[in-house]
Amino acid sequence: MGDSEYNAFVTETTIEGADDGPLAGKTVAVKDNISTEGVRTTCGSAMLADYVPPYDATVVQRLKEAGATIVGKANMDEFGMGSTTETSAYGPTENPAAPGRVPGGSSGGSAAAVAGGLADLALGTDTGGSIRNPAAFCGVVGIKPTYGLVSRYGLVAYANSLEQVGPLAPTVEEAAALLDVVAGPDDHDATTRQEGADADYAAAADGDVEGMTVGVPTELVEGADEGVRETFEAALDDLRAQGVETVEVSLPSVETAVQAYYVIAMSEASSNLARYDGVRYGVSGGYEGDWNESFAEGREEGFGEEVKRRVLLGTYALSAGYHDKYYAKAQDARAWIQQDFDEAFAEADVLASPTMPVPPFEMGESLDDPLQLYLSDANTVPVNLANLPAISVPAGETDGLPVGMQFVGPAFGEHAIVRAASALE
């Protein structure tokens, strides 16, 4: 357990930015899987306890140029693998908005830093919901940008075809303003695009939703807890009162989303995490046997249980004889889900659902049942599979616990989700 309040930070630090800029005077928490030159970047793992990057992630460079002060490297589930921030090798983070409950994850430290007032803003990363889930659980705003809008250079990869860096903030406008700073193409990331680069996202937080059509995918509402559904329905009523038209839409393929997501994410993780073999990272030396045995021992020692589980399953899913059964099928499912979203956006400007089907878990509650925990990602992972933008905004409470509402937009449709979310504030 670290020293910081709520154990929100793995490392507290002060990295000063430029003297002026749009974020001058603002403090920012940066998730600990985003590289900071000269400041250790652990990814919540013992494997990287001593890893100090010699370079800044592009988003960190942009924060500095915008005048922000980075105040800490935020705690997270180990390598982003978790949705409660309990798999961190540096101890769990507490939820400032719901004492005794998890802050969500994997960007739990980032959300807690904002909710607990330790930082004005935060950067998180979202592979299958890792920004939106903790935003919902901690009662703050979080945006998962369209894949390709924000540079991943310097983001330590978990599942590189799925993840994006994105903002967390107390309000939609502040989150959008932070997105304005970090968005845009980067020569170091071949997957970034020109589209959406010069947009003024903060300006879209005007609450003007008159005439907007919001689609509600029945599949993403049915499975939610009673209390969460009630809060969600009340938020929809609020929107309708402001001139929004709501329509039911269907995303039939999302029933495969959780399975497809985990197969793809774990497969990519098995490859992305292969470099941590004990030679340059983690504990090494002194092992008997050949280098394969030495690598195995270093990995056994350096990785936590959830990481090992996902690396093993991912390796299995990519193996000869299983590749077609798992990995190839998951890619097919990914394509169908993208198609379903395309069809839904023919009928609606944005889609709305509860961000999480449940309120925040009690600490320790979910650790013994990984499958149940994976299923709670049902509403967030389809968005990553479809490379789309989504935002989570506080929609109210159930039994005193925060409930988040998720708006999903078409590719590079960040304006629309920012506008819709701002109408709920």
């Binding site: 990814c43 991943r152 590189n160 470099r275 990272y281 193996s319 000869a320």
Partner: protein, 493 residues
Amino acid sequence: MTAQTTQARDLAVVIGLEVHVQLETATKLFCGCSTDTADSEPNTHTCPTCLGLPGALPVVNEAAVEAAVKVGKALDADIPEETRFHRKNYYYPDLPKNFQVTQYDEPICQDGSLEVAVADERRTIGIERAHLEEDPGSLKHEGGAIDRAEYTMVDYNRAGMPLMEIVTDPDFRSPTEVRAFLEKLEEVLEYLGVFDAERDGSLRIDANLSVVDAEEVAEDGTIPTDVLADANRTEVKNISSHKGAAKALSYEETRQKNAVRRGRAVEQETRHWDESRGITVSMRSKEEEKDYRYFAEADLPPMRVSGWKEEIAIPELPDARRERFREEYDLSAEEASKLTSTKQVADFYEALTDEFDAGFAASWVVDRLLGELNYRDRSVGSVDRAAFVRLLELVDSDDITVKNAEEVVLRAMLDDGSDPDAVVEAEGLGKTSGDAVEEAVEEAIADNPDAVEDYHDGEGGALNFLVGQVMQSTGGSAEPGAVNELLREKLDS
């Protein structure tokens, strides 16, 4: 089958190659690090990307893709609409990420071929595919060979160098053909300007070799696929030159044929070519089927290259240039072939044709210069062009004899870097003028009455003796033909 029956069998060898070629680009395949690593300290040409640091991402160097397209065009290969990269996952200490970014089922070149001359036969070798990939780092074992080393150090200077892996069909029927192919391939790559043979490790070869019943080989060299599939093959690794390939594969051919003739099975295994001992060594055959768990590299979006094939031009290739030389400069097949053996020689020669008669220049380059260079194990790149041009001028204007030009001046130029005019001056090689020759001839006649008498008696040797006398007194600077003629004239008058 019994040992007796196998002994009588005629066996044929079947070889296929995987050739790794380092492409000449200014920077590495996926980052901006310089590829000019010769004489550099270890780990000085590195950055977060080629070190595989957490969070670093690859970005494709378009120059490498362009080079690959050129190779594809030269190999007459199909270049697809779109090409992409995959990850090849395996653990090895020289691999910074423990996966290699390479190309899998969408390579940049497929179904090409290269025509090779072997003795008098022209053979077409099929190219199954050619793809781009990053080079791993290099390992340095301290305190002995890999199995005895005390520890091993890693140098990442090489990590991320652009490689092209060229995979041939199993079309070779002898190690000689392999050598001819590799020489031709190097030549083509040099012509394209994408390859530097001088660079250490620029060519690395893995070869698959098996033996089959000679009866199975059809007239045109083809072998039924089921016969090929049934034959156990060995993969010979660690070959780094075309000479090495011929040696390694001859060794392996003999080893396999001997095994089969003795009634033993050839084991399917990987063997290591030990250049210093001249043998192949088994790398332990406990070889599980390798599973590289290939999947698409999401950090590099697919590249549309359909338009590139038209847009990217390639220079005239050796075969075309050879034919053009024959026609344009009226050269023999042998001359044209020697003059186009490397781009360097061809360029050197072709520039001479601006100033000199093409046939004259050809005979000087082919018959004299290349011979002298070959003897000194040097390339035409080491020749002072201006000096060579001056030498030809001296010969062309009849200022020195061909014999002196070659045996004295050219050799001094090559050995000491001497200036041709200075050599002529110092050695007194300037052609002796007509008057001086005439004087010497008259002197020889006056001084050798016996020889003159013998000449008139019809003894053939006498004239040669007199020519020798004249040559001696002029220090070899007279033309023997002219002396001969002048002597006859004087003696017969």
